[in-house]
């Protein structure tokens, strides 16, 4: 239960940061950077995916 609560707390914390990031771009009114923000999100998704890959990559490597 406490591990789950810790996970939820961390998730909530990162949501605050994401909100801060979006607020920063809105506050600065640099809307033309929105395409770049989308690029960032794509890069972040890639990073998360390959981060997860880090746990199994040696296994995949030895397979192939």
């Amino acid at each position: 239960m406490s591990a789950r609560r810790g996970f939820l707390r961390r998730l909530a914390s990162r949501a605050v940061t994401l909100g801060g990031l979006l607020g920063h771009f809105a506050h600065r009114r640099r809307f033309f950077l929105v395409p770049l923000v989308l690029v960032l999100l794509a890069a972040a998704v890639l990073l998360a995916a390959t981060g997860g890959l880090a746990y199994v990559a040696p296994f995949l490597y030895t397979l192939f």
Binding site: S13, V16, T17, G20, H24, F25, L33, L36, V39, L47
Partner: protein, 571 residues
């Protein structure tokens, strides 16, 4: 009334600082605990130590303030990558990986590290944290404040008006126009390590002549409004952060100096060329800073100037600003670089929660106190005789006067890169062989590196021109030695007749002042060579373990730990 913890991390020189009810309680760099020089990682142990000294639990903190805006930083990185497209190809993946993978989430990491609610963790702007460290620690009610470094979020230079507790930004210069990155690129060009070797470049400059001023003027252009611009074709900041300079710089000034080659200024023509390049760089940097400072004086009408940011560690430039910028007083805090950002962040957080501005900073001794009992126990376990002495200061002075090198560990360790008598190596300033022995055998540094003197504030005026002043208690400026006295202090006067002086009083250096007093009684000369207590490439010693390890490893004659004396051979 609030308890605020300030944090700097992720770039270089991570630190934590605690301010309670407007009073600076503690400030420490993480490297002192981790033993990794300029450790950039989150200052877990430094934060714990600050809280312990303040007798505060993390849960009792009202705010935790990070010294930089992570969102603005990410924006600048993305914008720089886009601006330099397609030349930013090599940087794209690692830069975004670093930001998105770690640095963007620093506020969450801090909350996790301390076990506090995310809502109390906030940030301030990077240059504002530098400005706060300088102005709010200064003795001035009103001042112009200049912050100059490599780069914060986007600004590399900023001008502020400081009044009471408030700071107002009047203008800024943005990346890639940066004096810090200029100096760093030349540090790499001259074969030194970036963020480590800038002091060496400063020391080397005194051995050269500035005969490349015209070439430097093509690299760094000074504008009529006091600002400056860098010519981009000589740099590679956005495309190659490993080196920072482009082949165009080598075409202009000659080939870069290979890293690691020993210096020989007497017989190596290329080393003399490099010294001339260093001298030219120093002059160019000073003139750029002068332009900024004169503009600051015009904009603010202030009579006092505060400086911070990594470039403010250039003591030579600070001295020139004090002489020529037209201010009556100049202050540079002891931790002018990124570590000081933690203190500035804490002070801003404290101010915003309604606490008053602290008293002017009287001492840099803001670290953990030295545990003399633990040191004596460890010394005995290591087979060393740690003997209590009635007057350790007098015992140290006698040995220094006899030409011995004495390591001193007493009281709270210093905040910032300078040893100011809490964790110091002391030697006789009147003997040239002190410098040679320390450089060659103990510190293992390049032969052109000078050592600094510590002198009682009372005696300073007779020995050093312009001393004491607001910077000398923290060794953030240089002073010219009185020409009639230069021959009497050969170990601490640089080839150009200057010295990076520390003026000592009881409040500013409580553990060094009695030694200087005893030395004056012993020899009539209240001056000592004072260098930091650390081996080559290591952070300054903090506690008993590193102090005794240093003593065992280096041929130092004696170690004073509190009121005990450990000697290699009896006096």
């Amino acid at each position: 009334m609030a308890a605020v913890l300030g944090i700097s991390a992720h770039y270089h020189d991570a630190a934590a600082a605690l301010v309670v009810d407007g009073r600076i309680v503690a400030a420490m760099q993480e490297e002192r605990f981790s033993r990794i020089k300029n450790d950039p990682s989150l200052p877990r142990r430094a934060a714990r130590a600050c809280l312990a000294l303040g007798n505060i639990a993390a849960a009792d903190l009202d705010a935790v303030v990070f010294y930089e805006n992570p969102y603005a930083k990410l924006e600048r990185v993305v914008v720089s990558l886009a601006r330099e497209y397609p030349r930013s190809f090599r940087q794209f993946s690692p830069a975004l990986g670093g930001q998105l993978g770690s640095k963007l989430w620093v506020l969450d990491q801090i909350a996790d590290m301390l076990g506090v609610e995310r809502r109390i963790v906030r940030f301030v702007e990077h240059h504002e944290s530098h400005a706060a460290c300088a102005f709010l620690c200064s003795p001035y009610a009103h001042a112009a404040v200049l912050t100059v470094d490599g780069v914060g979020e986007a600004a590399t230079t900023a001008l502020w008006r400081g009044e009471g507790s408030s700071l107002r930004c009047l203008g800024a210069i943005d990346f890639p126009h940066s004096l810090g990155l200029l100096y760093a690129a030349f540090t790499a060009y001259l074969g030194f390590e970036v963020n480590e070797g800038e002091y060496k470049v400063m020391g080397l400059a005194a051995h050269g002549r500035p005969r490349y001023r015209d070439e430097l003027s093509r690299v760094l252009r000074l504008e009529a409004d006091g600002s400056f611009t860098l010519e981009p074709r000589f740099f590679a900041h956005a495309t190659d952060t490993d080196v920072g300079f482009s082949p165009a710089l080598e075409a202009l000034l000659g080939p870069r100096r290979p890293p690691g080659r020993p210096f020989d200024l007497d017989s190596n023509e290329d080393d003399r060329r490099c010294a001339d390049v260093a001298a030219s760089l120093q002059v160019a940097t000073e003139e750029a800073l002068l332009g900024l400072a004169r503009a600051a004086r015009e904009r603010t009408g202030a009579t006092a100037l505060c400086l911070a940011g990594g470039v403010a560690l250039n003591a030579l430039a600070n001295a020139r600003l004090a002489r020529e910028a037209g201010f009556e007083r100049v202050f540079v805090p002891p931790a002018a670089g990124d570590a000081g950002g933690a203190l500035g962040a804490a002070l801003l957080g404290s101010r915003d929660l309604g606490d008053p501005r602290p008293a002017p900073l009287a001492t840099a001794a803001l670290g953990e106190p030295f545990d003399t009992g633990a040191a004596v126990d460890l010394a005995r376990a290591l087979g060393l005789a740690a003997l209590p002495v009635a007057d350790a200061s007098a015992a140290a002075a006698v040995r220094i006067a006899a030409g011995k090198v004495v390591a001193l560990c007493r009281g709270r360790f210093e905040f910032g890169p300078r040893a100011l008598g809490q964790r110091s190596l002391l030697a006789d300033a009147t003997r040239a062989e002190s410098r040679d022995r320390l450089n060659r055998v103990i510190k293992q540094r390049e032969p052109f590196r000078p050592f600094a003197p510590s002198v009682t504030a009372a005696a300073a005026a007779a020995l050093f021109v312009g001393a004491p002043n607001d910077m000398t208690p923290f060794m953030t400026t240089v002073c010219r030695i009185d020409p009639g006295r230069a021959a009497t202090l050969p170990a601490v006067v640089h080839v150009d007749g200057t010295a990076r002086v520390q003026t000592v009083t009881e409040p500013s250096a409580p553990d060094l002042a009695p030694i200087l007093a005893a030395l004056e009684r012993e020899t009539g000369v209240p001056v000592v060579l004072n260098t930091s207590l650390n081996g080559a490439g290591e952070p300054i010693v903090a506690g008993p373990v590193e102090a005794l390890a240093f003593f065992l490893q280096h041929p130092v004659d004696a170690l004073v730990v509190g009121d005990a004396l450990i000697e290699r051979s009896p006096a």
